[in-house]
Subunit: 538 residues, 2 copies
C-alpha cells in the first residue's frame, strides 16, 4: 500500500480541481465578498509565495487575530500548505494572555483584522518574536499605525505567485495548526494540531452519521475561526466542496438569521449562547430557515428547552455534539440509532439532548470512583479519550502531566453513559457539587431550570457548607419583562418532583447576566466568587 | 497530537461497544443465521484465540475459500485483529491459479466452505505451505474428507476465549489483507492491503458524498467477499454499525430480490452483470424494493440502459463507481453536484452514467499521448491514481514495475475527463481499438448497443485490418425470444447518428453468451480469439 502523507494542502488542491466553481461568501468590515475555490486556491498560493518572501520557513508559527472571513480561511491553508503553522489567537482574551500566547508560540508573523489593530498596537512592545504585521482590510491604503513593518494583505499578495506549489516536504505528523485554550487558573494552554489529525478529523466530519458535510451543503460557522478552527468545518467544507458563508466581524443574531435566509444555509455550528440569541431573533423576525438541515451545538451543554424550541417550533434539526480544544474538537455527536425511531417525541428529544456517541476513529473510557463506570446512566465518571485527532500534550507546558496520562486525554468532564453508549455531560470535575458524600450535577439542575418558561439562562454553583461540605445555589437570568417576584418559589416547586431532595438548590439568586468566558461558556469560577460575596454581604 | 495506529481490530471494537444489538443476517448452505455484533465480536475473539492455538503468528497469511456469510466476516476481523493477514481467494479461478495463489502467498491455514472442499481436496497435494484446514459448516459432524488436519469451525472456536484481546502490536502500515487479481496474461497478481489503507478506505465509504454508509443502513454486498473484500463494505458497515445481509453461497437473482424485500435492504453493491440479472428478476416477480437508497455498481462500466431502468422503472438510485483490486477499491463515485440539479432528466442520467469524481483522500492524473489530458471530455488518456488505499506494488512480483511508476498506480484504464472532473472510462488500454491512427473506445460503442431494446449484452473487440490496422466488431447477445433476423441492420442504423463513421462496427456477430471473467467482467481476450476464429472459418 502506498504511504502518502495526509496534508491540509492536499484538501485545498482537491477543492481547486473538483469544485472550482463553488463559492465562499465572506462578510468583511466593508463589504460582502463572493470568491470561488478557484480564486481562493490562487490567493492561497499567492499567500504562500508572499510568506516565503517574508522569510517564513518550515515550522514557523503564523498568528492570526481575526474574525470569520475568507482571508482567514486562506491563511488556514497557506500556513500549513507551506509546512508553517497556523496559529489562531482568541481575540477575546485579555491583552496579558494574548501577549503570553504570541510569545509562547513564538509567532513570527501576525495577520490582523483592521478593527483589532488598536489591540495589537497596545501590546506590540511586549511581543518578542514577531517580525512583521499584515493588516486584513478592503481599503486600498494602509491604515495609520505604529506597527512596523506593516503590510496590507491585498497589496502584498497582489504580486504573489498564483501557481506556487503546496509543500511536498511534509510529514503528516508535522504541526499544521495551534490553538490556546483558557485554563481555570494560570496562563492559557497551547494545543498543536497535526496534518494527520486535521485530515482524519475532516473525514469524521464528512461521515453520514456525524456532521455529514457534503458538496451540497452551505455551511455557516458561527463558532469563531479562532476557536478550535471553527470546529474544523472550514477544512472539511473546503475538501468536500461545500459552499461556505463566513459571517465576518462582530455579527449580530440579525445578521445570522439574514444570512441563513439569503444563502440558504444548510448547516451551522456554534455554542448554546449563540443559538439562544438566534432563537430570540427568530421569534422577533419572520425568517425563512427551511434550508437548515443541521445546527451543531457544542462547547457546553445545550439546555433541553433550546433543543426543543429549534426542533419543534422551527423544525430545525439540532445536533448536540461534544469536544474540546484538545480534541480538534469533534468527539461525540448525538443521533438516534435506527431502532430508536419508535420512541415517543419526548423520549427522542431526551435522548438527543445527550452528547451522543463517540465518533468512529476515537476511543473512550469513563473513570469513576472505582474504575470504569457501568453503562447504566447512573454512575458518574471522568471522560477519557484517545485517538489521532486528540492532543498528546500542551505545547511546552508543565501542566501536560495532569491532563495527559498513560496515553489518554483526561477531559475534566464528568459524564454518565447509557446502555447505548451515549454520554451525558453532567459536570466539569471542578464544578461537581459534593454534598453529604454524594455528587450533584450542577449541569442537570441548570438544564431543568432553563426549561422553565420565565428563565433565559441559569447556572448552578456550590457554596461551602459546614454540615454538607457544599450546597447548590441557582443563579438565574429571567427573560425580558419577567418580574422576580414569586419566581423563586415557583421554580423550586418546579424542580422538586424532578430531583432527589438533596439536589434542590438552597437558594435562587437573580442576575442580569451570567459571566461568560471568551467563547461563551459560563464562567463558574467568577460566579462562585460572586455568590460567595453575596452571602458574605448578607 | 496522539499517534494511535489505525487498525481493523479497532473497527470491530467500536461495533461491539456502540452497536452490540445490531444484526448480521447470514445465509449459509443449511440455514439463515442472525447474529448481533456482540455475538460476532465474541466469535471473532474466540477465533483469534483459536488461530493462536493453531500456531498463527504475526504476519502469517490465513486463506479463505468462501462465499458471503458471517463466518467469512468473522475472519475479516480475526486475521488482521491478531496481526495476521486475511487472504481471500477467488473460488472461481482455475485450480492452477488457486494453487499458485495459495503457495505464492504462503498461506498457513485455509478456511473453506463445505461445498468448496472437493476443489481443495483435488489440489491439496500441490499446496506447499498450508498446515491445517478448517471447514465452515452448520453440520455437527466433520465431513468425510482427505484433508488433514481438518477442523470444524464451530467446534474449534467453541472452546475459544470470548475475551481474547485484539493485538496492540500493530503498525498501521502492517499488512491486514491480500487479494489476487487476474492478469491479462500469466499468473494472478497479489495486492496487499494495510490496516491504514482499510481504515481510511472505510472513512471514505462513510462520507456523505460517497457511499454514505451509516448505522441506519441495511447493506447486502452482492460482490463476493473474495473480490476486493466485497469492496470494503463489510469493514465500513461493521465500523458504522450498519445491519448486514450476507446472501451466502450460489445465490440467485431470486434470493437477492427476496432478501431486499425481507430485510428492507438499503444499499447493495455489485458488478453490472449482477444488476442485469436482478433487473430480469424484478421484471418477473412482484418485489418491494422501496427500501433501497443506493445500488453501487462497479467492476466494469454499467450500460446507460441499465442505470435508466433502475432509476426510472424501479426508482432505485443507482451509483456508478470505479475502482480496482489495486485501489481497495473505491476510487471514484458518480453523484451530481448541487448546481447540476437543474439539468434535464436525460442530462442527469447521462452525467450519472459516468464513473464520477475522485473520492477525497486520493489524487489522480490522466496521461494522454502528450502529457496530462485537457478536461474537455474529448482527449483520452490512461488514469493514474495515488493515495493511502492504493497498492504500491504486486506482492513479490516482477510485473510491479509496469503498473507502479514514480509513485502512481497506472490503472490500465483509458478515460476522458469533463470540466467537472468526472471521469468516463472509455476503455482498457489493451482494448482500445486503433483504427487509422485514431482511438476508438470499445466501451462507448458497447454501451450504445446495450441501450438498444433487443440487446441483453454486447461487447466490441478489434480484429486486425490490413488497411486500418484494427477495426471494431460488435458481439451481441439478444434478449430471450428476440430473433436475429434484421437486428444487425437495425442496430447499425441505430448507431450511425451517434458516432463518427469510422467508429461504426464492421460487423455484428450474435452469441448466446459473452465469455466473462470469474468476477463477471467481459473476457475480451477470449472474445477476440473467438471473433478472429469466426473470420478465419468464414
Amino acid at each position: 500500500m502506498m504511504h502518502v502523507p495526509m496534508t491540509v494542502g492536499a484538501m485545498m488542491e482537491h477543492a481547486e480541481k473538483f469544485f472550482p466553481k463553488k463559492l465562499v461568501h465572506s462578510q468583511t468590515h466593508d463589504k460582502l465578498h463572493s470568491l470561488s475555490y478557484k480564486e481562493i486556491g490562487e490567493r492561497v498560493r499567492k499567500l504562500m509565495s508572499t510568506f516565503t518572501e517574508l522569510g517564513i520557513k518550515k515550522g514557523d508559527k503564523i498568528g492570526t487575530l481575526a474574525w470569520n472571513h475568507h482571508r482567514h480561511l486562506e491563511i488556514y491553508f497557506a500556513a500549513p500548505g507551506m509546512n508553517a503553522v497556523l496559529h489562531t489567537i482568541n481575540i477575546r482574551l485579555t491583552p496579558e494572555h494574548i501577549i503570553y500566547i504570541i510569545n509562547h508560540a513564538e509567532d513570527k508573523l501576525l495577520l490582523v483584522d483592521e478593527d483589532i489593530l488598536p489591540l495589537v498596537e497596545q501590546i506590540k512592545d511586549q511581543l518578542t518574536t514577531v517580525e512583521a504585521f499584515i493588516v486584513m482590510t478592503d481599503k486600498p491604503e494602509l491604515p495609520d499605525s505604529s506597527l512596523h513593518p506593516l503590510y496590507s494583505y491585498e497589496e502584498i499578495i497582489s504580486t504573489g505567485d498564483a501557481t506556487f506549489p503546496f509543500s511536498k516536504d511534509i510529514d503528516e505528523n508535522d504541526p499544521a495548526g495551534m490553538c490556546y485554550t483558557s485554563a481555570t487558573t494560570g496562563k492559557p494552554k497551547g494545543v498543536t494540531y497535526s496534518h494527520r489529525g486535521i485530515v482524519l478529523h475532516s473525514f469524521a466530519l464528512g461521515l453520514a452519521d456525524s456532521a455529514a458535510i457534503s458538496e451540497s451543503d452551505v455551511s455557516m460557522p458561527v463558532v469563531p475561526q479562532f476557536h478550535v478552527n471553527a470546529w474544523g468545518t472550514p477544512f472539511a467544507c473546503t475538501w468536500f466542496g461545500a459552499t461556505q458563508v463566513l459571517p465576518g466581524p462582530r455579527f449580530t443574531p440579525e445578521r445570522l438569521a439574514t444570512f441563513i435566509e439569503k444563502f440558504r444555509v444548510t448547516i451551522s455550528a456554534g455554542v448554546p449562547t449563540i443559538w439562544i440569541g438566534l432563537l430570540q431573533e427568530l421569534e422577533k423576525g419572520n425568517y425563512d430557515t427551511s434550508s437548515l438541515r443541521a445546527v451543531l451545538c457544542g462547547g457546553s451543554a445545550a439546555p433541553f428547552g433550546l433543543i426543543q424550541a429549534f426542533e419543534e417550533k422551527y423544525n430545525i434539526p439540532f445536533y448536540h455534539a461534544y469536544g474540546a480544544t484538545e480534541t480538534t474538537p469533534l468527539a461525540t455527536i448525538s443521533r438516534l440509532k435506527s431502532y430508536q425511531h419508535g420512541l415517543t417525541k419526548e423520549e427522542k428529544l431526551r435522548e438527543r439532548s445527550r452528547q451522543g456517541i463517540l465518533v468512529p476513529g476515537l476511543e473512550m473510557k469513563v473513570k469513576g470512583k472505582a474504575g470504569d463506570v457501568a453503562w447504566d446512566d447512573q454512575e458518574m465518571g471522568e471522560l477519557l479519550i484517545r485517538g489521532n485527532w486528540i492532543a498528546s500534550e500542551y505545547y511546552k507546558d508543565d501542566r501536560s502531566e495532569q491532563a495527559f496520562q498513560e496515553g489518554w486525554f483526561h477531559t475534566g468532564d464528568v459524564v454518565t453513559v447509557d446502555e447505548e453508549g451515549t454520554i451525558k455531560i453532567v459536570d466539569r470535575t471542578k464544578d461537581l457539587i459534593k454534598s453529604g458524600g454524594e455528587w450533584i450535577s450542577s449541569v442537570e439542575i441548570e438544564n431543568a431550570i432553563m426549561s422553565y418558561p420565565d428563565v433565559l439562562e441559569a447556572s448552578v454553583v456550590a457554596i461551602p457548607d459546614a454540615k454538607w461540605q457544599e450546597r447548590p445555589i441557582a443563579c438565574v437570568v429571567l427573560k425580558d419583562g419577567v418580574k422576580e417576584e414569586g419566581v423563586k418559589e415557583a421554580l423550586l416547586a418546579f424542580l422538586e418532583p424532578q430531583f432527589a431532595k438533596y439536589w434542590i438548590p438552597d437558594d435562587v439568586l437573580f442576575y442580569n447576566e451570567i459571566p461568560k468566558t471568551s467563547v461563551g461558556k459560563f464562567l463558574k469560577r467568577q460566579l462562585r466568587d460572586q455568590v460567595k460575596d453575596h452571602y458574605q454581604i448578607k
